[in-house]
Amino acid sequence: MPGMTITEKILAKHSGKDRVTPGENVWVDVDVLMTHDVCGPGTIGIFHENFGRDAKVWDRDRVVIIPDHYIFTADEKCHRNVQILRDFVKEQNLRYYYDPAFVKATGMPSPYLDPANTSYKGVCHKALPEEGHVRPGEILLGTDSHTCTAGAFGQFATGVGNTDAAFTLGTGKTWLKVPATMKFIFHGEIPAYLTAKDLILAVIGKIGVDGATYRTMYFAGDGINSLTLEDRMTLTNMAIEAGGKNGICDVDEKTLQYVRKRSTRPQWEVYREDKDAQYHSVYEWDLATLKPMVAKPNSPDNTDTAENCREMKLDQAYIGSCTGGKITDMIFAASILKGNKVKIPTYIVPGSTEVHSDMRRLNLRGVPKDKNEKSIEEVLRDAGCILGPSGCAACLGGPKDTFGRLNEPINCISTTNRNFPGRMGHKKAGVFLASPLTVAASALTGYVTDPRDFVTQRIETGMAGVL
């Protein structure tokens, strides 16, 4: 009998079987279910409608609620939605909820003053691992398509809709079709001018926005091992942009170090690919030959090299989101922006309050700064960047008063993950997706710019984003 992939082993274990094969439908036990302020209210409504007004969730320790999407807006419906989450948390006595306490019923909420001291976390996919809710070998469902981010930690994580989430809330189960696995191997160590964003854009450019539909994207090779966990999250985050059901990486010492430090539960199981596991297809890249990439409007698979797009004039730059708003992304960007001035409005949104607090605590090498050193936040502000509070912000447009939103038909270069029409606000705005290095370099020139013009040496990020 042929061997199994990590994803197949996780699904077999959770469905009480010895083995599963791609295409098979299985009912699985879910380890953690996450929801947020955009899909939570609908999910809660369907839960009550189907299980009854007095029903209890299947396990109060396994439901995690992280408001993050529409937080800094005066839109009262958005505030009301946060209140629906609060009421549900109270009713169900849920253990893991991260309240934006500053969201009152009316007005634009004034953000937290100290990011190190607030119950609010920011973007769910960044907060989930930080707060100890991701572990190798588990199944995580979330009412958000980028739930696949957590696959960087060797778990099966995927996005579901409100009905599926409500079903899991009441039963702890869901049905899944076992996906076939596509293997993406990267050889060599990542060069200083690339980040994982370039790798995943190269992959999506190659296979297309539907190239992995219904399938697992498994990222392997010494090139992946050379990445930080945060950079691996950038890869798995965008699995959905190729239509993937989940993205997954091998578990190594870096993964275990992170999870040991953070996990809310002491146990997990590490699965490894069998040598004779079966793949739908295998792709290989040599990292030394890859160039900095961009995805041009209006699709993540409309890729090109940054150097080929040099003529493209830009009106705005944006660094943020679950894809490109992590602390290592901020260090990458700040290393280029340091001592320079941006030529176009450049908006910075920390992916989480932990990222924000690290931006104040750490220096450009990712270690705690000493008195005379500038923090990452100071470097960015000195370069003329405009810093907003943590959250999803303009990544998905959102209400009109959202920080950084494209309210005009302009061109923006962004570290986010999607550039379909209207994604960041205006239907006719053009969004270029790129790495934090490319976005920072472009912010300095006002044109799409190859970061090789600026990066001269390896950018060290220390233990930033880990400890």
Partner: protein
């Protein structure tokens, strides 16, 4: 599920993502509140760029101004229909506007799943590309059990693919109804 669906077609292109089906700014409405839910119908497909709205001509609004329902009950799409976010608001918005089925070459996974599990509409795969054959406003008759679509306006017939292993869930009307019928839920 009705085995014959009859209505006017509204034609869209490839990679219609959920931000086009229901732009993010409208996600603040709570779909569980009937008074708010109907607004998803009003704004369904409002993110589609004007030139691509109602092919081949374009510039045809899916829902007339200030209306909650569309005159079109069948969507014709190309490849990868419903890609992007996992928002269930997308099939819900189409259903609120009166859409009963989508005919597309293939679907993004979560949109397909949400359509089926939520019982909103029937996501049907076509055997050939219909975007270039059907025009917005054509009268279609989708005969699911017989496996084809009749274009009454053009007097043409197109094959559709079998719904496969989700038929029991679609027939039951969604995953909750299905699980109840199976005795998994009380």
């Amino acid at each position: 599920m009705q085995s014959v669906i009859k209505g006017k077609a509204y034609v869209l292109g490839d990679n219609i993502d959920t931000d086009q089906i229901i732009p993010a700014q409208y996600l603040a409405y709570n779909p569980s509140d009937p008074a708010e839910r109907k607004y998803f119908g009003m704004y369904a497909n409002s993110g589609v760029p004007d030139a691509q709205a109602g092919l081949p001509k374009g510039n045809i609004p899916f829902v007339a101004k200030d209306q909650f329902h569309s005159q079109y009950s069948i969507i014709v799409g190309g490849k990868n229909f419903g890609c992007g976010s996992s928002r269930e608001h997308a099939p819900l918005a189409l259903a609120e506007a009166g859409v009963q089925c989508v005919l597309a070459e293939f679907y993004a996974r979560i949109f397909f799943r949400n359509s089926v599990n939520g019982g909103y509409l029937v996501p049907i795969e076509t055997a050939q590309r219909l975007v270039d054959k059907v025009q917005t406003g054509d009268e279609l008759e989708v005969r699911i059990d017989e496996g084809h679509v009749l274009n009454l306006t053009r007097n043409e017939r197109y094959d559709i693919r079998p719904l496969g292993d989700v038929v029991p869930i679609i027939k039951a009307g969604g995953v909750f109804a299905y699980a109840r019928a199976q005795g998994m839920l009380k």
